[in-house]
Structures are given as structure tokens and as C-alpha cells.
């Protein structure tokens, strides 16, 4: 097998992992499902995610029914009884179409998860490379800053930031984010998870910088930026890919939690977390409003986690990296506070 690139070998290993591939397909299906939101909304349900139908009636198999009855109980799943309208019923007093909201909500949840993870990995790569390669006071400064974020209970920090920013918005230079912007939870999640990725990245850079190829590059006169970007970064790529995947799963979970508590995604945006929060108020009379978005969220996170597991096995067959990131990977050199 001489001459094959490591990426090709990893791809071949991944292709043999049936379980990981199966869950990868499941994830692709969920993505396709949420991307189809406008098609379903305009073509089948004929309504938007925020359109209310409180006082309207809907024809079900020739019989007219109230979308929300006098006690405030929303109509249950109609499947195709009304030609696809209220496929999963209405979402509560406001009588919005649950299926349409589920699809648009999934877009938000996935978008937040993916973009927040990009931020986490980007920040962690920059900080980890600088700290690990430059060492000295740069390392001390970065590592101590990460320790401070690490010392916060993650949820508590995220809730505190969520509240602070949801009431006041955020001003970064010329950029202004209003409190209900989708970018507020994205930034919060991206930042609070950074130490959990940056620390192991730093550890790996510390090991890599002693290797011969770095010495060779330095001997050829490469500057530190060149060494970090051209020599070290490609060697971190497989670690970063796996961290990114795990981070998507964790970010989606944290987003749903923040939204459930009212400090994540704000109206008019909808996510699976806000839908579960809304459904929880009606859980005894309409449990499907809690169950359905939760099951979809669970399936998505599960698919990402299993696929990430397969990805790790494929990229690092010796699986020496312990990347189970949600609580932070144990570091070989111990936790220096």
C-alpha cells in the first residue's frame, strides 16, 4: 500500500465501518429533511414557521375542526388528513404548524451547532498553536486564560452570558448584535467550549514541535508563522476534524439547553430547544410537542457522535487519542491549574 496518502487510507477504513456509515447516512437524511423546510412550508403546509392560526378551522377528511379548541388544546397530528397541513398538529395556543416549525427549528439547531463548533475549533487552533509553539509568556497567558474559563461550571457561564447578552446585545467595534440575534448563542457556545479543545491541541503541539520535521523547517529558515501554518497545522488536521464533529454534537446539546431555559435562541427564531420548552408547558395534554423535537435532536446528536467515533477510528487506528470531549479529555501531563 505504498504511495497511498493517509487521507485515502482513512477513507478506506471509514468505508468499512458499516455502523458509522449508517449513522452518517442518518445525519445526511436529517440535514436533507431540514433543508426541505421551504418546500414543505410552501408546497404542502402552505404556512410559515411563525404564522399563527389560532381562530382558524381546518378541513379533516371533510369534517371541519378547530386548530385550537376552546380549552386552548391544539389539534393533534393530522398526518395527511388535511392534505399535509398540520401534519404533526398545531404547537399550542398560537396554532402554528408543528411540522413546519420542526423543519425550520432543525435548521437553526444544526446551524448553531455547526457554526459554534467552527468558532470553537478555530479559536482553539489559534490559541493551542500559539501556546504550544511559542511557549514562554504567551503560553502562560493563554493557558491561564483557558483555566479561568475551565473553572466555570460551563452551563452557569453560558446561562450568565446568555442572559447578559440577551438583554443588552453585544457591541464589538462597528459590529452590533441585537439581543435576539442567532449569533449571540453561537458566540457563547463557541467560546465556552474552546478550552476543552484548546488544551489537548496545545498538548499535541508541544509534542510535535520537538519532532525532526519542525527542526528541519526551522533550520531552513522558516519563521514561526510558517512553521505553525505549514508544518504543524497539517499534522493537527485529523485531531481537529474529530474534535469538530464531537463539538457539533455538544454544541447542539448546549444550544437546546440554553434555549430551553430561555437564554439561547430567541423568537422569532425557532430551534428544537425552544420547541421542547414550549411543548413542556403542555406535556400532559399534548406530549407529542415535547417528544417529537426531542427525539429528532437525540437522533441528530447520536448520528453525529457515532459518526465522529468512526471518524476517529479511521483517522487514528491506534485510537490513542481520548477525545471524548464533553468533560474534557484527561491530559497525560496532569491538570495544572
Amino acid at each position: 500500500m505504498a504511495g497511498r496518502s493517509p487521507w485515502y487510507l482513512a477513507y478506506r477504513r471509514l468505508r468499512r465501518n458499516r455502523v458509522a456509515l449508517g449513522f452518517g447516512v442518518l445525519f445526511a437524511l436529517i440535514v436533507a429533511f431540514v433543508l426541505a423546510a421551504p418546500l414543505w412550508a410552501n408546497g404542502v403546509a402552505d404556512t410559515g414557521p411563525n404564522a399563527t392560526h389560532t381562530l382558524e378551522r381546518v378541513e379533516v377528511d371533510g369534517e371541519s375542526r378547530e386548530v385550537v379548541n376552546r380549552e386552548g388544546k391544539p389539534v393533534g397530528p393530522l398526518w395527511f388528513g388535511a392534505g399535509g397541513k398540520f401534519f404533526l398538529g398545531a404547537d399550542g395556543r398560537l396554532g402554528r404548524d408543528e411540522m413546519v416549525r420542526l423543519m425550520y427549528g432543525g435548521r437553526t439547531s444544526l446551524f448553531v451547532g455547526v457554526v459554534a463548533s467552527l468558532i470553537t475549533v478555530l479559536l482553539a487552533t489559534v490559541l493551542g498553536l500559539l501556546a504550544g509553539y511559542r511557549r514562554g509568556w504567551v503560553d502562560t497567558l493563554i493557558s491561564r486564560a483557558l483555566d479561568v474559563v475551565w473553572a466555570f461550571p460551563v452551563t452557569l457561564l453560558a446561562i450568565a452570558l446568555g442572559l447578559a447578552l440577551a438583554t443588552g446585545g453585544l457591541q464589538i467595534g462597528p459590529l452590533h448584535l441585537s439581543g435576539d440575534s442567532i449569533w449571540v448563542p453561537i458566540l457563547i457556545i463557541g467560546v465556552v467550549y474552546t478550552p476543552y479543545v484548546a488544551r489537548p491541541v496545545r498538548g499535541e503541539v508541544l509534542a510535535l514541535r520537538e519532532r525532526e520535521f519542525v527542526e528541519a523547517a526551522v533550520a531552513q529558515g522558516a519563521g514561526s508563522i510558517r512553521v505553525m501554518v505549514r508544518e504543524l497545522l497539517p499534522n493537527l488536521a485529523s485531531t481537529l476534524i474529530v474534535f469538530f464533529a464531537i463539538s457539533v454534537a455538544n454544541s447542539m446539546l448546549l444550544e437546546s439547553l440554553l434555549s430551553f431555559l430561555g437564554v439561547g435562541v430567541q423568537p422569532p427564531n425557532t430551534s428544537w430547544g425552544t420547541m421542547i420548552a414550549g411543548g413542556f408547558e403542555l406535556i400532559t395534554s399534548s406530549p407529542q410537542l415535547t417528544v417529537v423535537p426531542g427525539v429528532l435532536l437525540l437522533l441528530t446528536v447520536l448520528a453525529v457522535n457515532v459518526f465522529a467515533d468512526g471518524l476517529r477510528d479511521a483517522l487514528d487506528p491506534r485510537a490513542k487519542l481520548r477525545l471524548e470531549a464533553h468533560a474534557g479529555a484527561p491530559e497525560p501531563e496532569g491538570h495544572a491549574v
Binding site: A151, F152, P153, T155, I159, L163, A327, G334, A336
Partner: protein, 318 residues
């Protein structure tokens, strides 16, 4: 050892200081949280607000306000801006509830995490391993608050098997104490059971290839003894690390679980205070939580040295 302890203590103090400054800054840049207005209550007139501002020193420079608040937190005099009740006393009142919740959940997750991980590793590749893997990965992927809502709905509202929440002190009625806490315990433990069994499984599989395992088998030890005394024992090191970190950081998860199950502990208090943008309790609770995190971080390092004699304490803290 003494040098290590001193350095570690100084490091802990520095991190706690930074954490408290960070919280203070976050809540002082929030525009809608004027503490004088909060203290004045709903029927506030400008004079009252002005006199409170003066009396409580809200017009003083921020560093001085910070020092005053920290002084009050550590001397037990700090009061909430919203209810004016003593914050430290309220935290102490919440300790039995929150600690019952955390310790019970930790016992459950350690027991099942280690049991599942052990069985998975011993039967690696078999159907039991696969079934346990499904359970573990699902546990890691489940939204905790959602699980709480579902369990509450089906086990409590529909089947009426368990109480819907609340707290009965252990000293009053141990059976009711456990009955009220079983759902919160399970909810809090589920993620960690999945996570720990995965970590233990892979760490045991690594250990099985080690020379000392072959030696143990060559000595003629029974398979069970090899697995428990040699493989399992040496694979528990990462579990100890994780447990220290996770248990220290549990206050975050407690916020949600206490809220849903209506347990009036520190987590509930934290959430109420956050919603009211009530800075004194937020500061005190964050410090309380961060203290446990840095404390358990240090304990982990010490436990490391005991479990693995190759680790020398003074050097590990570089």
C-alpha cells in the same frame, strides 16, 4: 510536596479571583441591571433610588465596589439586591438538597459506568458489548432536560409511580428522601454513565495488551482475577481523573435538574438569581461552584500520584 501544595493553593486563589472579576464585569456591563432600582422595588421614585445609590455605594468606582462585595461574601454579610435576604445563609440552606442530588447521582453513575464498561470490555465484540455500546452512546447524546421532562410525564403524571419532585430531608424519612430523588438522580447520571463506560471500555482494551497482563495469566491466575485485579484496576486512572473534573463541575447540570424537579437547592437559587440579574448571589454561587472545580482539579492530581507512582507531583504542575 510542601512547595507543590503552596503553588497549587496560590494557583487556585488566582483562578478564583479571575473568575469573580469576570462575573462582576459581565454583570456590570448589562444595561438593564441597575442595582439601586432593584433594591428600591417596584414603587421606586428618583429620590429613593438616589439615596440607595449613595448608601450602597453604587456610584463608587467599580474596583472599590468589587472589593466591597468580595469582602461581604467572605464575611457572610452579602445580601441579595432582589429580596434582601442573606446570600451565604441561603446557599448553606441549599447544601443538603444539592449535595444529596450530586452525591446520589455520582454513586449511580460510577456504579453503572464501571459495571457497563467492565462488561463491555470483557465481552468485547459480543452482543452484550454492542447492546451496552448503544446504551452508552444514547446516554451521551440525550438532552438531559428533555429526558427529565419525558420521565416526569410518563412515570409521574401518567403512571403515578413517583413523586413529581420536591425534597424530603434524609433525617426525616430516608425512604421518601430516595423516592423523591430517584428521578433527578437518574436524569443527572445518564450522560456520565454513557461516557464513563465508553472511557473505561477503551482503557481496559488497551490494558489487556500490556505485558503485566500476560505475566498475570502466565502465573496461572483465573481470568476473573486477571480482569479485576490487573486490567480493571489499572484502567481506573482515567475514570478517577474524569470523576474529579465532572463531580467538581456538577453545579452546572444541577441548575436544570433542580429547576425541572422543583428541588429548592443551590442550582434553583442560581437560576432564580440569574433571571433577576441579581449580582450578589450570582457572584457567590459562581465562586462556590468554581471553588469545587479547582479543588477537584487539584485532588485529581494528588490521586494521580497515588495511582501511578511514575507521576511526580512537583513536575506535573509545570
Amino acid at each position: 510536596m510542601a512547595r507543590f501544595a503552596v503553588r497549587r493553593l496560590l494557583g487556585m486563589a488566582a483562578v478564583l479571583f479571575a473568575v469573580s472579576v469576570l462575573v462582576f464585569v459581565i454583570f456590570n456591563v448589562v444595561p438593564n441591571a441597575d442595582p439601586a432600582r432593584q433594591l428600591a422595588g417596584r414603587s421606586a421614585n428618583p429620590q429613593l433610588v438616589a439615596s440607595i445609590t449613595d448608601e450602597w455605594g453604587f456610584d463608587e468606582p467599580l474596583p472599590r465596589q468589587y472589593l466591597t462585595m468580595m469582602g461581604n461574601i467572605f464575611s457572610g454579610k452579602v445580601v441579595s439586591y432582589e429580596t434582601r435576604e442573606n446570600v451565604d445563609e441561603r446557599i448553606v440552606e441549599g447544601i443538603p438538597e444539592t449535595f444529596s442530588l450530586c452525591i446520589g447521582a455520582a454513586v449511580i453513575w460510577l456504579f453503572f459506568g464501571i459495571l457497563f464498561g467492565y462488561l463491555s470490555a470483557v465481552r468485547a465484540g459480543g452482543w452484550l458489548d454492542r447492546a451496552l455500546t448503544v446504551v452508552a452512546v444514547t446516554g451521551i447524546s440525550i438532552p438531559v432536560f428533555w429526558l427529565a421532562a419525558i420521565l416526569l410525564n410518563y412515570l409521574t403524571y401518567k403512571l403515578e409511580l413517583l413523586p413529581s419532585g420536591g425534597y424530603v430531608p434524609l433525617s426525616e424519612n430516608p425512604l421518601e428522601w430516595a423516592r423523591h430523588l430517584i428521578l433527578p438522580w437518574v436524569t443527572l447520571a445518564v450522560v456520565y454513565v454513557g461516557f464513563y463506560s465508553r472511557v473505561l471500555r477503551s482503557s481496559m482494551l488497551d490494558a489487556m495488551d500490556e505485558d503485566y497482563v500476560r505475566t498475570a495469566r502466565a502465573k496461572g491466575l483465573s481470568e476473573r482475577r486477571v480482569m479485576t485485579r490487573h486490567v480493571l484496576r489499572n484502567s481506573l486512572v482515567p475514570i478517577v481523573t474524569l470523576f474529579g473534573l465532572d463531580f467538581g463541575a456538577l453545579l452546572g447540570g444541577v441548575i436544570v435538574v433542580e429547576g425541572i424537579f422543583n428541588i429548592n437547592g443551590i442550582g434553583q437559587y442560581a437560576y432564580e438569581s440569574l433571571l433577576n440579574l441579581d449580582l450578589p448571589p450570582i457572584m457567590a454561587i459562581t465562586l462556590f461552584g468554581a471553588f469545587f472545580i479547582v479543588l477537584f482539579n487539584s485532588l485529581v492530581d494528588i490521586a494521580y500520584a497515588y495511582l501511578d507512582p511514575r507521576v511526580r507531583l512537583g513536575e506535573s504542575a509545570s
